[in-house]
Subunit: 380 residues, 2 copies
């Protein structure tokens, strides 16, 4: 670590010291000033100085001494994850899901609002409003929104830096929606909107099955097919935030993939929701036509997946989305297809989230906003 | 910048200070101790201390004062790029090219040895030896090798971390060659071997047309088709160094692409080397059959290229390899095809290197080795 700059910017130095103390204090164990000083490499005096400031802001909390300690115990401190709240919202095809968490990302409250797939722009935006309001009310009555430091919003489609949906194939009337502005009406703090596949990938490396991996291809297999990429431990967005869109290429097979499931369904009509699930159920029960349909679906899925794997050589492929619940009939055929095309087949894992992965990824993005704001020395 | 650690490791601190001074002293202008102190944030005393050590090692050089300076001029220092040499070797299909450079990567000597495409392992390895020996002799007679601090070697095929070629489709008997061991016999210092497409990509961001871009797809279009990826300013290798191999997927079109050129050539036989060049020459001269062959070639090339672009959303695609010399008949059709498939078409540029790009990338990799070694405080 370089020594103290001769004529450096002291307020900048204080900020960085504060970030160092905050980072170290986010562990599971509360720390004494001596321990904080040792871990950050700051002098005892600087550590005390910074801790006083952070206590004043409410970002650091003093922890009660362990009962029974002999003599006068040293004061111990930890990051005050209760100082603020984060909001993560998944604007999906069939549901809106909103999570309110503390600053460690622990979920405190959640709200869910069902919405029909064919809902237009106005109906879906009203559902977004309802769901967020429900979550905020649960989090603290009328004033629940005031404690939100930052918000992440996930949506299908391509999103620009301001929170506008540039292009959405799967939802009616959704291209052009200014989702950022819509949500900013309801909460204070930064609001950032991002594509749902990208956020699902982020959630897997944060709290999911990809925690140990630095290069990950997340594959959304469901009513839509999509991808999110983690490269060198970071979400890869691309130059204009249009990464992961290999499905737009007909040769990648993803446009054709669900037609095999559609074809089987049209030959076996019954009523009931979630049609695709029926194909997997029938395949599992031994229906040969359904098994063939799943096989053909997987074959097409594997072409684009192989293109991603051959391009990036990831450590891990994570399968998420609605069909990942049918992993038992899908993953082994997919592995065989990947082995057929790829020079090196990576590990394949199935997402362990029910359907909260995307919303958790939105929380993680909100947390990134807070951490950046702290590093930049701004009160979030 | 955090302050000096209370009980930190001082030798580690000195190393980091030395790296800071070296980094600042690599600019175009020599600097005084006062300027070095200001730029590194180190105290005057520490700067003097570090500079003395680096002068002793020969890594820093004192620059003669500007004539006509009034009074006693302050001493000025700069990085001594002449303290050592780097070697970059391109083991290609038709040639071996070796570059000897200074520590700034300026080419001082080069040697080239032609080798037939059908040459087997032994013949090609002998040519590698001959080429390196020629370059080292030019660099300093019999003892020319002694000044080499690090060596980068480029080869077709997939390479492991020790410098062994794991798989090569294009060169006979080349899979399994221990190229690292071969080259280590001839030079001291670290020897690192890497795939040629990856190193060509590296060269473009270092000294080529991609200097300004952080996300780049390099496309090798020639007798072989291949790709190298720069992501977030760094060469993307992948988990097992197998990235960029989308050409292995038949659906990507690259295996089929050259057959269109072959077909035209087989219908228009003449003698002469470099057959493929003839198709482009004929297309440029207005031969409609040749134009169609180039068109079909580009169409197939564009499928895999679009898959890369849709996956990564790069700022820039660089076209290199033998066919890039026929950019006038190839780039516009390629742009049209990319526009057809991609959601956002990135900039397309043609490599400005003749055929030294890959060897320059090997030099850059050798320079990385030296910089890592300096950071790690080891004498390279």
């Amino acid at each position: 670590m370089p020594e103290e700059p001769a004529g450096g910017d002291l307020s900048r130095l204080r900020q960085l010291n504060a970030v160092a103390v905050l980072r170290e204090s986010r562990g599971t164990q509360p720390l004494t000033l001596t321990e904080l000083s040792k871990r950050t490499g700051l002098s005892r005096a600087s550590t005390e100085d910074v801790a006083r400031d952070l206590l004043g802001r409410g970002w650091l909390a003093e922890v009660a001494p362990t009962p029974g300690t002999v003599g006068r115990p040293a004061r111990r401190y930890r990051f005050n994850s209760g100082a603020g709240r984060l909001l993560g919202v998944d604007v999906g095809g069939h549901k809106i899901l909103a999570l309110v968490t503390d600053l460690d990302g622990e979920v405190l409250h959640q709200a869910r609002v069902e919405v029909p797939a064919e809902a237009g722009r106005r109906e879906r935006l009203a559902a977004v409003d309802r769901c967020i309001t429900k979550a905020l009310t649960a989090a603290g009555g009328e004033g629940g929104g005031a404690s939100i430091w930052a918000t992440g919003v996930a949506t299908t489609g391509l999103v620009d830096g301001t929170g506008k949906v540039m292009l959405s194939d799967s939802l009616p009337e959704w291209s052009g929606v200014d989702l950022g502005r819509q949500v900013r009406r309801l909460v204070p703090g930064a609001v950032r909107v991002e594509n749902d596949c990208k956020l699902a990938a982020l959630a897997e490396t944060w709290r999911g099955v990809a925690r140990y991996a630095k290069d990950v291809v997340f594959l959304l297999a469901g009513l839509r097919t999509g991808a999110g990429l983690i490269i060198d431990g970071k979400l890869h967005r691309g130059f204009a935030n249009w990464s992961g869109e290999i499905g737009a290429l007909p040769a990648a097979g993803w446009q054709q993939a669900p037609t095999h499931l559609h074809d089987w369904l049209s030959k076996h009509p019954t009523t009931g929701p979630d049609g695709f699930e029926r194909v997997f159920v029938a395949a599992r029960a031994g229906d040969q036509g359904a098994q063939r349909a799943v096989e053909e679906y997987v074959k097409d899925l594997a072409v684009g997946a192989s293109a991603l794997v051959l391009t990036l050589d990831p450590q891990l492929v994570v399968i998420g989305g609605g069909f990942s619940r049918s992993a038992d009939v899908m993953v082994e055929p997919l592995r065989r297809e990947l082995e057929r095309w790829c020079l090196r087949t990576p590990e394949i894992r199935v997402s362990a989230f029910a359907d909260e992965g995307v919303a958790l990824g939105a929380v993680r993005m909100a947390l990134d906003e807070v951490e950046t704001a702290i590093t930049d020395g701004l009160r979030p």
